[in-house]
């Protein structure tokens, strides 16, 4: 250190020292930032202009139908499909993920077969299968496997179109969810399980208190995207002629002939719901970030 001090300091020209009296520090110039700003501003103005001045968008009709009862009712059904898909998907997905990680080879094989079948067949096709289940099995019985049947009901009564939609979306979602859940558990450091085991913490408690909260931190961002994808994915249920949002706007424009404004109504609602889900997701992530290095 002292060696540095002994070295003669180079003499400063006037205005060379930051903070010296009478010396101002001028920020660096960034001319290209101004060019980019101007270019993007012009593009935004053009887009806004195109949306507002072109009568073909027919904004008055959008206003008429955005909050109409039929649209709101279909929106409610879309929400139900999304919630059912999420709940069934993640509940069953967790079971499948645990099976995949189990020590039992049969459980592992069945779980990965499930995932690969339900992931490789398009949702729209799966939905049509469930919709037509009665053609394959006209009655469903409850009893002892390969033994006597105690009660049997017509398939149509048990799996109507609405149930078929819930089932189809839930089972399809479970295949994706199981992979997300599994990756969450695989991301946990091996030492966490060892520490919990070394402390003798009972297994169920290890899962709930130690492993699950840590897995959730990895699962949640991906799961959030998955739920957003699911919300929009429910639109394929229109093939079953069920009154969810996308089907409903089609019904309306087939009647009124105003295709574009009705598509816009659906787009606005999907956008609004996605925004809400995104906000909910980031709020949850902040909550789960407890114990991270950075102050929250």
């Amino acid at each position: 250190m002292s060696a540095l001090r002994v070295a003669p300091a180079p003499s400063l020209q006037h205005g060379e020292a930051v903070g010296a009296a009478g010396v101002r520090v001028l920020p660096a110039r960034h001319p290209w930032r101004w060019v980019a700003t101007a270019a993007v501003a012009v593009l935004v103005a053009m887009a806004a202009n195109a949306l507002v001045t072109n009568d073909a968008w027919d904004w008055p009709t959008v206003g008429d139908f955005l909050l109409s009862t039929s649209v709101l009712r279909s929106l409610w059904f879309t929400l139900q499909l999304t919630v059912a898909g999420t709940v069934i998907g993640f509940a069953l997905g967790t079971v499948v993920a645990l099976m995949r990680m189990s020590a039992n080879p049969l459980l592992r094989v069945v779980a990965s077969a499930y995932t690969s079948v339900f992931r490789s067949v398009p949702l729209i096709l799966q939905l049509l299968f469930w919709y037509n289940l009665a053609i394959l099995y006209d009655r469903i019985g409850f009893g002892i496997p390969f033994g006597p049947v105690f009660v049997s009901v017509p398939t149509m009564d048990l799996v109507g179109p609405v149930t078929a939609a819930f089932l189809g979306i839930g089972l399809h979602q479970a295949a994706y969810s199981s992979e997300i859940v599994r990756s969450g558990f695989l991301s946990i450091d091996r030492g966490q399980r060892e520490a919990a085991a070394a402390l003798g913490i009972p297994w169920a408690r290890q899962f709930r208190r130690i492993l699950l909260p840590q897995a959730l931190r990895v699962i949640l961002p991906t799961a959030g995207n998955e739920v957003i994808g699911l919300l929009k994915g429910t639109s394929v249920v229109y093939v079953m002629a069920l009154p969810e949002l996308f089907y409903q706007v089609q019904v309306i424009y087939n009647r009124t002939g105003r295709v574009i404004p009705m598509l816009l109504v659906a787009a606005i609602w999907y956008f609004a719901l996605t925004t809400v889900l995104t906000l909910a997701q980031s709020a949850l992530e902040r909550r789960l970030a407890r114990g991270e290095r950075r102050p929250s």
């Binding site: 450091d189 030492g191 966490q192 060892e194 520490a195 919990a196 085991a197 070394a198 402390l199 003798g200 913490i201 009972p202 297994w203 408690r205 208190r209 130690i210 909260p213 840590q214 931190r217 789960l288 407890r290 114990g291 991270e292 290095r293």
Partner: protein, 268 residues
């Protein structure tokens, strides 16, 4: 700080027989046999240090004591109780996971990488196992946990999350967490190896304090100075066998075997 060895052994005369008895322990990973027939007794109130080159099997041996590692042959007993198995006539029956967890809750284990639960506060880390594994009253455990944190000098960090602490502080919390189970035995797996050099001292101070209070300890470490000062017995392992054992003075200052001498020459 540490009491003289003789006094400590006298103080712990009440429970008779060794705390740990290992007989004929063998263990392979794939085709490599890392433990090749090990016998070891740990007497109550003593500090046993396991030394040896890396890959000598000392960590694996330590982990067999609380059944984190299953043995391929041999028996592990803690206070006379078979660990991981029970006798069923002429055979041994593997214990259910639940039973093994119960056995482990009497044995403290401190890991090289601390393995604190990052999403729980320091206090929650310490309180978790006594409440969930030993079903003790949470409030009573919390009082005891705060006293333990005081003992390792971290009472003021009780509400912090582990990742905000230094490595040395995290390891001291991990020690408090192990002690909260009121264990009959505490196992330390290279407790200072993951620490920056200037943080090693604070963890060794805690170990010295524990040794001085008559806790039965088995420590895998590379800290020869610590071994010389605190160990009642030093066991030198190499290639999966015990090469020699004795007091710290015998093994460290007058080693009988060439392999021990070569190892000590490298690390000292």
């Amino acid at each position: 700080m540490s009491a003289p060895t003789a006094a400590r052994v006298e103080a712990a005369e009440v429970p008779t027989g060794p705390v740990v008895e290992l007989r004929g322990i063998r263990k392979s990973f794939g085709r490599t046999e890392v433990l090749r027939g090990i016998d070891l007794d740990v007497l109550p109130g003593t500090v046993t240090v396991l030394l040896g080159p890396s890959g000598s099997g000392k960590s694996t041996l330590l982990r067999t004591i609380n059944h984190l590692e299953k043995v391929d042959a041999g028996t592990v007993r803690v206070h006379g109780e078979l660990i991981g198995y029970r006798r069923a006539g002429r055979h041994l029956r593997e214990l259910h996971e639940r039973e093994v967890l119960r056995q482990r809750s009497r044995i403290g284990f401190v890991f090289q990488d601390f393995n604190l639960f990052p999403h729980l506060t320091v206090l929650e880390n310490v309180v978790e196992a006594p409440v969930s594994a030993q079903r003790r009253d949470r409030r009573e455990v919390e009082t005891e946990a705060l006293a333990l944190l005081e003992r390792v000098g971290l009472r003021d960090k009780a509400r912090e999350y582990p990742r905000r602490l230094s490595g040395g502080q995290q390891q001291r919390v991990a020690i408090a967490r192990a002690l909260a189970l009121r264990p009959e035995l505490v196992l330390f797996d290279k407790p200072t190896s993951a620490l920056d050099p200037e943080l090693v001292g604070e963890v060794l101070d805690v170990l010295r304090d524990l040794a001085g209070s008559g806790t039965t300890m088995v420590v895998v470490t590379h800290e020869i100075g610590f071994a010389r000062e605190v160990a009642d017995r030093v066991v030198f392992l190499s290639d999966g066998v015990v090469v020699e054992e004795g007091t710290a003075a015998q093994v460290l200052d007058a080693p009988q075997h060439e392999r021990t001498r070569a190892f000590l020459a490298r690390v000292l």
